[in-house]
Each structure stands twice: as structure tokens, then as C-alpha cells.
């Protein structure tokens, strides 16, 4: 299941240059493939770095078992970090909305639909477009979301950059590894915004196969019935329909 869209060449070039921020106005698609294992990795990273503030309230924890095949123990250990999280309820944040509002001025939004609403490239670009801006209360600003209230929670991996792209502090991860991890988070959010995706793609070939078969059978049925007509074409292609058996006799006709 490779990602169809995207600009792998551009992403590759940017990675090799070690450029970690997008240029304003151009969105970058996340690198890598979209698969269950990426989504699971992304879910764990999300729990570690994002669940402190963000809910994914439409996605219940047990869906991760149903859709991704994670075990309940794994979900409890790696995903259900916020205290009070319930296996059968939606993914909740650790911080209460009131607390968050006090800290950031705006409650961190529920991210259930963010990828469907903004698209993967926007979310990926957003997460990789933070820069250091001492004029902001948090110290952070963002190229695609100016004056953003969210701090760059991934700075320790990816490093700290200025608006012009100058590195102030190196991250703990190589640029490639860092981008892979951000891409995994985005993959998780894509799944979260459309959790039927794996079920759909697993079922799809069978449904389409059955329908193609049905089409073939009904085509043969149609051909068999229309033999009556096709056999009666004269030289000009006209059909003498009055000679057709269906028209000639009608048992209970009056």
C-alpha cells in the first residue's frame, strides 16, 4: 500500500540537504509508506508526545485492537497514558481543557478529523515547520500556522531552527529518522480520521471480484437472450422482429 500522491523526489532532495522546514506556501507530503505497522508506530509516538494535550475523541482505544491488531495489554501499556483513560472510550488528553486553556490561551483541538480536514501534507508540513521566535510567549512560531499557540514538542528530536533555516541546536535524531517519525504520527492521524481504511482495503478485492464475476455472468445471460435478435439480422442489419417467437405466440393472449 504505497502512498499514491506525493513528491518523493522533492522530499528526498530536501532530506539530503538536511533542510527540516518547509518553505512557506509549499506543502510537503510525508515520506514513507502507509501501513498498519507505520500507524501503530505513529500511535505510540502520538501517545508519548501529543496525548498530553490533544484528544482524538472519536477514536476509541479498543479500535486500535480491532483495526490494527494491537493487543489490549500493548494498548494499555503504550497508548493509554493519560490517567483515567478508558479502553472503551475515545482517546483523551492528559491535560484538562480548562488547564490547557490557561496555559495556551486556546484549548488544544481534538485531532480526530484533522487529516481529512487539512490533508496529510498540511499536517506533516505544519509539524515540521516550527521555528524559534523569541517574540512569542512560548518562543515558537510556525511557517504554515503563524502565531501558533502550540509549542514545538518535537524540538528535542528534530533540533531548533530560526526562521531563515539556521540551526540553533541539533536534534537527537538524524534528519531522516526524525522525518520518518513525524510521518508515522501523520499516518496515525490519517488512520484516526478514517478508521475504516484497513477494513475497506482488506475487503475491497473480494467485493470487486464478486461484482466483476456478477457482471460477467449477467453479460453472458444478456448475450444468450439477445441471440434471438442477433440471429435475425438481414443483410442491412435490420431485424425482422415480427418473426420473433416472443411476438408470435402468447399462450393466454386474447
Amino acid at each position: 500500500m504505497m502512498r499514491k500522491k506525493g513528491v518523493p523526489v522533492l522530499v528526498g532532495a530536501l532530506l539530503s540537504l538536511g533542510v527540516t522546514v518547509a518553505h512557506a506556501g509549499s506543502l510537503i507530503s510525508p515520506p514513507g509508506s502507509f501501513s498498519k505497522s507505520t500507524v501503530i508506530a505513529g500511535a505510540k509516538l502520538f501517545a508519548d508526545h501529543c496525548s498530553a494535550c490533544h484528544a482524538v475523541s472519536n477514536l476509541r482505544y479498543n479500535r486500535l485492537a480491532i483495526d490494527l491488531g494491537m493487543s489490549k495489554a500493548e494498548i494499555k501499556k503504550d497508548i493509554m497514558l493519560p490517567s483515567g483513560a478508558n479502553y472503551l472510550n475515545g482517546m483523551k488528553p492528559a491535560m484538562s481543557q480548562a488547564e490547557a486553556k490557561k496555559w495556551f490561551g486556546i484549548p488544544p483541538p481534538n485531532l480526530s478529523h484533522i487529516v481529512r480536514a487539512e490533508g496529510e501534507p498540511w499536517v506533516y508540513t505544519y509539524l515540521t515547520s516550527f521555528y524559534w521566535d523569541p517574540t512569542r510567549p512560548s518562543g515558537w512560531n510556525n511557517r504554515v500556522f503563524p502565531e501558533v499557540a502550540m509549542p514545538n514538542v518535537l524540538a528535542s528530536w528534530g533540533g531548533i531552527y530560526t526562521k531563515s533555516g539556521k540551526q540553533l541546536k541539533a536534534g537527537s535524531e538524524s534528519p531522516a529518522a526524525y522525518h520518518r517519525q513525524v510521518a508515522a504520527i501523520v499516518a496515525f492521524l490519517r488512520y484516526a480520521s478514517d478508521p475504516s481504511i484497513f477494513a475497506r482495503e482488506a475487503l475491497g478485492p473480494y467485493v470487486l471480484g464478486a461484482l466483476v464475476l456478477l457482471s460477467l455472468v449477467s453479460y453472458l445471460l444478456k448475450k444468450a437472450y439477445w441471440k434471438d435478435i442477433d440471429d435475425r439480422r438481414d443483410a442491412e442489419g435490420h431485424i425482422n422482429t415480427s418473426a420473433m417467437p416472443k411476438n408470435k405466440t402468447k399462450p393466454d393472449d386474447t
Binding site: 481529512r116 487539512e118 478508521p195 475504516s196 475497506r200 475491497g204 470487486l208 461484482l211 457482471s215 422482429t241
Partner: protein
């Protein structure tokens, strides 16, 4: 068996109806691929009824809960995603079929005498369908639903005298809220739906009264064999029933491919702005209608004055009613009318260009396209009476081809 059949037929005209509408309803033998659209529309309409019924079992028409009840269908309901995608993608596919169906009627002159009423009933169905789609569009109460509801109900405001009252009536109050959702749900599922069912029945009855046209635009009833049946006609059942079953199977394959692999059709069938909850505080930069209504929206925007814009849009929607009387050429099918054919193809291109431009933000660079498109659209109907009375035609064969 036959005893039961006799008992039944003494009390209900089953055998008679079967004869009149199926086994002894004669249809031209030269239907092409565009003639699948009618039976596919019937099929899709029926599917909407089923998926809509299942959606309604979970939907809550309040401004508080509407958005989350729909998301609950997507996230928590078993097979909920299948039901909702069927219903949402089904709408777009119905409009694809409607445009092919109407285009077919224009290509082969199916609106001409004696099928004027059939055409008018069909076009009423199309207009009802636009209303049905609009009501449905508001129900999930995403932010686009909210603002689209706001914009469209405010169009009613432009009607002289009763406009403001009508807007309040449509909304159930000063703004879009629970009262709006409740009445739109009632309209979507009861009144409009029943009107559609009634009109579709009348459409079929009117069709069977006059008989189908065909790609050659020749009346098959004009040439009858010694048995009194049209020489170029074949009984609808079994020939077209088996053919239509094949059509349904192929169409279902396409439908399933969309549902399973591209349910939002890259934001065309299910727009991205529908994934934000309705929020009166957060305006959308550009509220654009779904693709199938966008041509009219583009024409509305083509005029800077709101009232004239609404007038132009209303004119564009109403004009096709007059087609049967605007076309004055004795030849029906565009197969034998090269100029008319070119006009129809141009109209199709213009219509879908308007659909595209209607989805774009209202920037000055698009104004020219909107105005040119609107001018060609209206110009077609203005010029048709003149062009159709002087255009050259090819010789029409006596019997249908192939």
C-alpha cells in the same frame, strides 16, 4: 401456481401490468450505452432509500449532537462507514447519471413531441433532486453545512415581499440551528422524498404512454409489422431487463470501487470542510456548493449585483423546461444535425467548466470564465430557435440503424 395466479389476477391487475409495462412494452432495439442511465437511476434511488433509512436510525437532528451522531456512524457503528459512504457517494453518482440522462435526451431530441411532458416531469425530478441534495447536505452539520445553509436560505431573502419571512420559515428561526435540522430532516426524508417517488412514477408512466425515443430519433411506432408491433421494437422483458441487469452489475462495480478505494473522491464527493464541526464563529473563506450544483453558483457569481445574479441563476435553471418548443427542426437526433450536435457538445463543456469554476474561490481572474460560460449557456437557448430553423441536416434513414 396458476390457480393462485388466477385468484390474484381476479383481484389485482398483476398480469395486465406485467404485459403493459414489460412483456408487451416495445422498446427500440438500438439503445446505446446512454440508455442504461434510466434504470441505473431507479436502482440508485432505491439504494439511497435503504442507506438513508439505516443512517436515520443513528442520526440526531440537533445542533449539539448532529455532527457527532454522524461521526458515531463512521467510527462506532458496525458497517456504518459503508452505509454513509454509500449514501454520500451515491448522491454524486446520481448526479453523474442525471447529467448523462439529460444530455442523452438533448443529444437525441428525446424532449421533442410527443415526449414534452416526459421531459418536463424529468426536469422537475432534477430540480427536486437538487433540493433533496441540499437538505441532505445540511444534516451532518459540518462547518460547510452550516455556512451553505446560511448562504442558500439567505437567497430566499431576495424574493420580493415574502423573502424575509420565507428565510425565517426555512430556518425555523433567525439562524441555522436545531429547528433548521429538524425541518430539513423532515423535508429530506418525507416531503421531498415522497414528491420524488410520485414524480418518478409519473415519469415512467408518461414514458410508457409515448414509448422510448432512440439514438436515431425516429419513431418506431411509425413502422409496424403485420402483428401490430413496431418492426424495430423488441419487448422490454426479457431483452432489456437482462440488459439492464448487466448495466446494474457493471455500475455496482464502479460504485464499490469508489466506496472502497476513494470514498471522498479526493474531496470532491465529500468535501474537506465537512470535517469541521459547524461553528458560527468560524467563517469559511469561501463557501462553495458541491460540484453538481456549482454551475449555477458560478452563474450567480458572474453578476456583481446580488438580485440580478439570483435572477440569472433562476433563469438558467428554468430554461430547459422550454426546450421542446425552442427546437424547431423537424429532425430530432443530433446524429443527423451536425450544427446542433456541436452546440450540445459545447454546452456540456461549458456546463462542466462552470462546475469547476464554481468551486474556485471568488477571484477576479475567474470572473471572465464565469461570464463567458453564463453567456454561452443562456445563448444556447436564445439561439436555438433560429439555428434550428436554418441549420443543415443529413438524410434521416427510414429505419433505426444497427
Amino acid at each position: 401456481m396458476s390457480k393462485f395466479a388466477d385468484w390474484l389476477n381476479d383481484r389485482f391487475p398483476a398480469r395486465e401490468m406485467m404485459r403493459e409495462h414489460m412483456t408487451e412494452y416495445y422498446a427500440p432495439k438500438n439503445f446505446n450505452i446512454l440508455y442504461y442511465t434510466g434504470s441505473l437511476l431507479l436502482f440508485m434511488f432505491f439504494l439511497q432509500l435503504i442507506s438513508g433509512f439505516l443512517l436515520m436510525a443513528h442520526y440526531v437532528p440537533t445542533s449539539q449532537d448532529a455532527f457527532n451522531s454522524v461521526q458515531g456512524i463512521m467510527y462506532d457503528t458496525k458497517w456504518g462507514w459503508l452505509i454513509r459512504y454509500m449514501h454520500v457517494d451515491g448522491v454524486s453518482l446520481i448526479f453523474v447519471l442525471l447529467y448523462l440522462h439529460i444530455g442523452r435526451g438533448m443529444l437525441y431530441g428525446s424532449y421533442r413531441r410527443p415526449r414534452e411532458l416526459l421531459w418536463i416531469i424529468g426536469y422537475v425530478i432534477y430540480i427536486l433532486m437538487m433540493g433533496e441534495a441540499f437538505f441532505g447536505y445540511i444534516l451532518p452539520f459540518g462547518n460547510l453545512s452550516y455556512w451553505a445553509g446560511q448562504v442558500i436560505t439567505s437567497i430566499l431573502h431576495a424574493i420580493p415581499f415574502i423573502g424575509p419571512g420565507l428565510t425565517t420559515l426555512a430556518r425555523g428561526g433567525p439562524g441555522i440551528g436545531t429547528a433548521t435540522l429538524e425541518r430539513f430532516l423532515a423535508l429530506h426524508t418525507v416531503l421531498w422524498f415522497l414528491m420524488l417517488v410520485a414524480m418518478i412514477l409519473m415519469h415512467i408512466l408518461a414514458l410508457h404512454q409515448v414509448g422510448s425515443n432512440n439514438p436515431d430519433g425516429i419513431e418506431i411506432k411509425a413502422l409496424k409489422g403485420p402483428d401490430g408491433h413496431p418492426l424495430d421494437g423488441i419487448p422490454f422483458h426479457p431483452y432489456y431487463t437482462v440488459k439492464d441487469i448487466f448495466g446494474v452489475a457493471v455500475w455496482l462495480t464502479i460504485f464499490a470501487a469508489i466506496i472502497f478505494y476513494a470514498p471522498t473522491m479526493h474531496g470532491v464527493f465529500l468535501e474537506r470542510t465537512t470535517f469541521f464541526r459547524a461553528n458560527p464563529m468560524v467563517g469559511l473563506p469561501d463557501v462553495t456548493p458541491p460540484w453538481y450544483l456549482a454551475p449555477y453558483y458560478a452563474m450567480l457569481r458572474a453578476v456583481p449585483n446580488k438580485y440580478w445574479g439570483i435572477g440569472l441563476m433562476a433563469l438558467a435553471i428554468v430554461l430547459p423546461f422550454f426546450l421542446p418548443w425552442l427546437d424547431r427542426n423537424p429532425v430530432h437526433s443530433s446524429r443527423y444535425r451536425p450544427v446542433y450536435r456541436a452546440m450540445i457538445i459545447l454546452m456540456a463543456v461549458v456546463f462542466f467548466t462552470l462546475a469547476w469554476v464554481g468551486e474556485q474561490p471568488p477571484l477576479p481572474k475567474y470572473f471572465f470564465i464565469e461570464r463567458l460560460g453564463a453567456a454561452i449557456y443562456i445563448g444556447f437557448y436564445v439561439l436555438l430557435p433560429i439555428v434550428s430553423s436554418i441549420e443543415p441536416t443529413r438524410k434521416v434513414p427510414e429505419r433505426v440503424q444497427a
